[in-house]
Symmetry: C2
Amino acid sequence: MLTRKKEFIELSSSLPDIWKMLTDVERDQLRSNARIVHYKKNELIYLEEEEPKDLMCLFKGKVKIFKSGVGGRSQIIRIIRPVQYFGYRAYFAREPYVTAASAFEACTVCLIPMEIFENFLRHNGDLALFFIQLLSVDLGIADQRVVNLTQKHVRGRLAESLLFLKESYGLEEDGATINIYLAREDLANLSNMTTSNAIRTLSNFVNEHIITIDGRKIKIIDEERLHKISRIG
Amino acid sequence: MLTRKKEFIELSSSLPDIWKMLTDVERDQLRSNARIVHYKKNELIYLEEEEPKDLMCLFKGKVKIFKSGVGGRSQIIRIIRPVQYFGYRAYFAREPYVTAASAFEACTVCLIPMEIFENFLRHNGDLALFFIQLLSVDLGIADQRVVNLTQKHVRGRLAESLLFLKESYGLEEDGATINIYLAREDLANLSNMTTSNAIRTLSNFVNEHIITIDGRKIKIIDEERLHKISRIG
DNA sequence: CTAGAACTATGTTCTAAAACACAAATATAA
DNA sequence: TTATATTTGTGTTTTAGAACATAGTTCTAG
């Protein structure tokens, strides 16, 4: 009972965006249907081809949304940080997932059954417009990404990814180290290149005093250079 | 007056998807605020950086949505056919257009002021869910496109584009010729390759008896091969 | 704590596709 | 119509980045 109560409290304070748009009735319904699930590092959250059932909200941790392409080669499509919603696109498009999601690190996720949520949307204009906005922003990012990934060269793509990771997950206390622990392979999949190329280009950046690396920890030394490299492609 | 009346008739029959979801009041409001605009072949409909003002619905013609990338290189992001909606994403994302739109051929477009339409959405759950679905489908296509454009080789990308054009605009009376008149450059920009490569690969397809070309008219001879080439990348 | 697996690093080779160059064919405008 | 611009076609050169090979290093599961 105590645990259950704890989850109630989490819900109201952890869904800041949508909670304030809901009516009391909707809030009750949400309380009694939302589930909190924990995922271990590298655990899969959902798979390609699966049926979407829940709107997911990341309370804690870091998630990657990815897709396997030609010859099973994986491409990271987007990354999720707290508090962001994910996993709902496929449901609204009335299709199975075309992506998969997995936890970069231990995660806490709130699952809300889509049927219930769709009903909220149908009767709550503010909530509907909020999700229209989320989808619109993501679609704009996807459009931009098509151009960046296809037209920029390896250096530009990697520089962009590093800046993107910094924007998404922020920096550690030193004000320079990117606050995520990523394998070179993930960095490569995010930047559309081979792992070798990610490693090599990272080394080049170190030699050019743009970053320093300590294992998987990446410290940004010259952010302006990174921006420039990203811009010129 | 007669012309004006004609436009009223067009509206109710030309917006099949949304018209049936609207209340009488909304319909009246739509009638008095929607405008019909004609665009000449190759005319620009909106530009990157511009402020989005209207929801657009293509009644007649063909439209390309494109984006200029590194070094001004253009990338076609999506193509629009009658009756599809476009131009609304940026407004909902509360940002200027990140793409531009132009007419492949002479077009008739219906413009609906976004402020009015947003109000409809806020009070009409079905309409809101309809647009949530449109955005969700487009976002799924964009995600798929990232993988296709970055991982497939030139042949696979061109094959995919030809099939995509066939799906979008259909075939002429002969049941084989793709019903669109595209410059090689546009075909290249759609497939993320140089014009030279589009021309060369098209020639290869002709030699392999997969298609025939007569100027800009492309006839599909062996669709199964195209599917196969697209699939294996 | 240890063994095996996974990750990181770097050098070498190979290839797809871009860049370039030019000619021929079409389209567009004066 | 003729002249000019644009588009199409093809051969050649160059290069970015993939593929491969191999070794050292770091995880991690039992």
